[in-house]
Amino acid sequence: MSPAEPVAAVATAPAREALVALRHVSKSFQAGSFALRDLSLDVAKGEFVFLTGASGAGKTTLLRLLFAGERPSEGEVRVLGCDVARLPRRAIPALRRRVGVVFQDFKLLPRLSVEENVRIALDVQGVPAREARARVFSVLKQVGLQQRRYQDPRSLSGGEQQRVALARALVSDPALLLADEPTGNLDPELTLEIMDLIAAVAARGTTVIVATHDVALVRRHARRTLRLEGGRVTEDAPAARIRA
């Protein structure tokens, strides 16, 4: 099969309940130009999937569809049982509370402390203060930053900032974690650190989708890998094949 050819069937991990299901999804930002083209795939509950491909392949657009940051131009996107194309605007926050998102540029608020940056995900849901503090402490402990919770995030290293962003994504106990080039701004050592944390999240049963163009990272973690090219899935390699 040529790398540019799309995989014929639905890219899927069978036998388990699909947490994410895309059917014939296309996304176009301007007439005639497609960021995603007739894309179909399933991601099962608890799966850890890499999205790879060059810049402009459609990785970020695909992730944005999954947290309702965009709506598909065509096709069906189902995430946690919600049809993103038909989801009313007022229902989007409820979906996003079940989907944690991590970005390459961390997206932390400089005026807030580490604790406040993480807590904001609970504050917007109206979680009572005492419960919020306990949950924030627990998740900061998971990422090893409980001692730094009162610090300004700007005083932290890149890896630590990404750990804060990861803690914020996890504090709501999401069913799905999306990470868009989470290690793109980090050196190799910090990259491993962050990916180990994400792998630990996946090991606890959270469905994880990581977009990256770092082939070494994909090989090291050896998980199901979807390769995107020109907005199509051109390869759906199971974990076993990556390990091989």
């Binding site: 947290f67 940051g69 605007r89 007022r90 926050p93 409820a94 979906l95 996003r96 509370r97 998102v101 997206k107 608020l109 005026r111 807030l112 904001i120 995900a121 504050d123 917007v124 849901q125 109206g126 979680v127 009572p128 203060a129 419960e131 919020a132 914020r168 709501s172």
Partner: protein, 301 residues
């Protein structure tokens, strides 16, 4: 578990944080709004005093009900009592023929000496009827005039058309100018607030994006901005009130002297406590509306 109190505290904290983060922009907004509101407040003081002047002039304007000659005092007192019952009548002064004669030169500019040639005072007794301020219009004046004319012993009632029309026009003019200028000033204040809040949206784009990503509802994202608009508007209203009070204190001596020269002695009045509260509350409301207007055209929130 979701707690409304926790959400309210978050919204309040976000509003305070927003004001602190864009303190310079907020200050510019408050000062701009305060200047616009001060202009409106100063205009309100001027309009209030103009209205006071016109109403004071209106107090001197009366209907005269002329009484039949030779009416005794008992009958006149009964007639006066009857006239007081007429809806729209505020006060009645009984003018005897002697009082009328004494007032004649002052009212007409003609010397009373002319009457000395006559054997008796030809001027009749009359009732000088002052209308309530809200009844100083053509319809009410005509109704009162007809009711007075129907009283037994009243021979004639002076027409009030001229002064009633003039008085009504003056008040209508003041009212129209007040509403027109007030609207223009309110709209300009609204535009200032809306533009300033939009500036703060731009400055807080990252925060809005993050709030949206972590699942903040639209109202949770919008409420801090609305609170900021409300707070800025209220501060601007207070500042405007202080500015107008200061200006009033500065201008009062000279303005009072000019007023006394033009229209006789009288005190200039400032806004009442209720009007002052309306100015501050109006500022807060404009701030809130400006923020809402700005949010309505911003797709991010």
């Amino acid at each position: 578990m979701r707690s409304v109190g926790a959400l309210a505290r978050f919204v309040l904290r976000a509003a305070v944080r927003g004001l602190r983060a864009s303190a310079a922009t907020a200050l510019v907004a408050v000062v701009s709004m305060a200047l616009a509101l001060a202009l409106a407040g100063a205009f309100w003081v001027v309009i209030g005093n103009m209205r006071g002047l016109v109403e004071r002039a209106g107090d001197a304007l009366t209907l005269s009900a002329y009484l039949a000659p030779g009416m005794d005092e008992t009958l006149r007192a009964e007639l006066t009592l009857g006239a007081r019952q007429i809806d729209g009548v505020e006060d009645i002064e009984v003018v005897t023929p002697e009082m009328a004669l004494a007032r004649f030169p002052q009212r007409t500019g003609v010397s009373a000496g002319a009457f000395e040639l006559l054997d008796e005072n030809p001027l009749p007794a009359s009732l000088e009827v002052r209308l309530h301020a809200e009844s100083r219009n053509s319809e009410d004046a005509a109704r009162v005039r007809a009711a007075l004319a129907a009283l037994p012993g009243v021979t004639d009632v002076s027409a009030a058309d001229d002064w009633v029309v003039g008085y009504s026009r003056a008040l209508d003019f003041i009212r129209s100018v007040g509403v027109g200028v007030g609207l223009v000033l309110a709209l300009s204040t609204l535009v200032i607030v809306a533009s300033t809040i939009r500036l703060t949206h731009g400055a807080r784009r990252d925060e809005l994006e993050i709030l949206s990503l972590v699942g903040a509802s639209r109202s949770t994202m919008r409420l801090p901005f609305l609170l900021e608009g409300l707070a800025q508007g209220a501060c601007a209203g207070l500042l405007a009130l202080l500015l107008v009070r200061g200006l009033f204190a500065l201008a009062q001596p000279a303005a009072s002297a000019a007023l006394a020269f033009l229209a006789g002695p009288g005190e200039l009045s400032f806004l009442s406590a209720q009007q002052s509260a309306v100015l501050v509350a109006g500022g807060a409301l404009l701030g809130l509306l400006g923020a809402a207007l700005s949010l309505a055209v911003d797709e991010r929130v």
